[in-house]
């Protein structure tokens, strides 16, 4: 039965398309997806997931339960960078440690989406308003990562870095993906059932198909980036799997404390375990220029992401099933 969960997840078309993308790189196929298309697919996913989340919020309203869950999610994403930083400093400099810590405090929308496809498949419900939790978890880790960096770096050698806090907050809270998901959520919440009726064929019915194409692309990119990391040895590789597991554990404890349902607990775990490869790298490159992007990008994109969508999700589910 346990194996069942893994198989159920692996035979999910989106997950299989991710591996197809990786296989294309291994076979040295010239399969390629133009950059503009990658961006379009990701715009679509953010738009659709935000709109659906907004519709769910419209249905559920802002109850105490919703607010407690959202606050828990924010706290969770703000704690992670602290211990992640502390662990990473054993091996890495301040800049790299801070950037990676921010990466793992934040989340990956596509991991969340893949988990929701998984839950649909195995027939477990989850609350649509968790999309709001996801959106709110993107930014805090960025701020904390940069705070850690500015607090602990040796004061020399960064004259070039002229970005101030104002810019940083803007990069954290108004970056394109956060903005689109939040905005679509607000619109989904405002337009309610009428809006959903008009947009359902576009946002709901096409969703899995677009997700497949996007994961195909992520597979291509992840496989290409992987080699960057493998040069770096085992510490970072191990970290990219063990930290998510620990984050998921922390999340499941919090989920139990605030009394989430089975599906919601799994989703919170997935959010905690996931790491950012879009919003955070863009912010880090500017705010922590001396951190090496060839570390933090492949860690989240080429190890944590595939781990989560293949083994992580069913593993977390097993755990929840045992505990609940």
């Amino acid at each position: 039965m346990q194996l069942d969960l893994f198989l159920s997840n692996l035979l999910n078309p989106p997950v299989l398309f991710f591996f197809l993308g990786m296989a294309a790189v291994l076979c040295r196929s010239d399969l390629e997806i133009p950059n503009a298309i990658t961006k379009a697919l990701s715009l679509y996913l953010l738009f659709a997931i935000g709109f659906k989340g907004g519709h769910a919020l419209n249905q559920s309203g802002l109850s105490v339960e919703v607010i407690v869950t959202l606050l828990t999610a924010i706290v969770l994403s703000a704690i992670v960078p602290f211990y992640a930083y502390w662990l990473l400093r054993r091996r890495l400099g301040v800049a790299d440690a801070a950037a990676i810590a921010a990466t793992y405090g934040s989340i990956s929308a596509v991991t969340f989406i893949t988990a929701s496809a998984y839950l649909d498949k195995v027939g477990v419900d989850y609350s649509g308003y968790l999309v709001a939790a996801m959106a709110l978890m993107e930014s805090p880790a960025i701020i904390i990562g940069v705070m850690l960096y500015r607090r602990y770096r040796d004061s020399t050698g960064d004259e070039g870095n002229t970005s101030d806090w104002g810019e940083l907050f803007r990069d954290a809270f108004f970056n394109g993906s956060v903005f689109l998901i939040l905005g679509s959520m607000v619109i989904g919440a405002l337009t309610g059932d009428k809006g959903m009726t008009a947009l359902k064929p576009f946002t709901v019915e096409l969703f899995t198909g677009v997700l497949c194409l996007f994961l195909l692309d992520m597979g291509l990119v992840a496989a290409r980036r992987l080699s960057d990391l493998l040069r770096g040895g085992w510490f970072l590789g191990g970290f990219s799997i063990l930290l998510p597991l620990f984050n998921a554990l922390l999340a499941v404890v919090l989920a139990a404390l605030i009394g989430l349902s089975e599906g919601d607990a799994l989703m919170l775990m997935v959010l905690a375990a996931s790491a950012s490869y879009i919003a955070v790298p863009a912010a880090m490159r500017l705010a922590i220029p001396d951190a090496n992007p060839s570390l933090y990008v492949p860690m989240s994109l080429a190890i944590t992401f595939p781990f989560n969508i293949t083994f992580g999700i069913p593993l977390y589910h097993m755990l929840v099933k045992t505990l609940w």
Partner: protein, 97 residues
């Protein structure tokens, strides 16, 4: 026609806006930008993947007076040091129209 300096810069696109601000501060009033070029240099291959969109370079072409070019070169050096990149200076004739 009169002589100008051609300044060619390749820089991590994340820093493009800062670079353009620096150039304008030095009195440069004209430039041409290619937003997406890829390349190889000391920091290895840099090819965009559009997901983590931080592995792309931008290319900037500036025609300006020798004096301005010198000021600009001095001003952008720290930025290039931080971000990596390339800066070439060459000679050209500006065709007046």
């Amino acid at each position: 026609m009169y002589s100008v300096k051609r300044l060619e810069i390749v820089i991590d696109r994340s820093y493009l806006n800062r670079l353009l601000k620096e150039l304008e501060n030095c009195g440069i009033e004209g430039y041409t930008v290619l937003d997406q070029v890829r390349g190889k240099g000391e920091r290895g291959l840099r090819e965009s993947d559009a997901l983590a969109d931080i592995f792309t370079n931008a290319y900037i072409l500036v025609a300006c007076s020798e004096e301005t070019a010198e000021k600009a070169v001095a001003a952008i050096r720290p930025l290039l040091k931080m971000s990596g990149g390339m800066c070439l200076l060459s000679d050209a004739q500006w065709v007046r129209h």
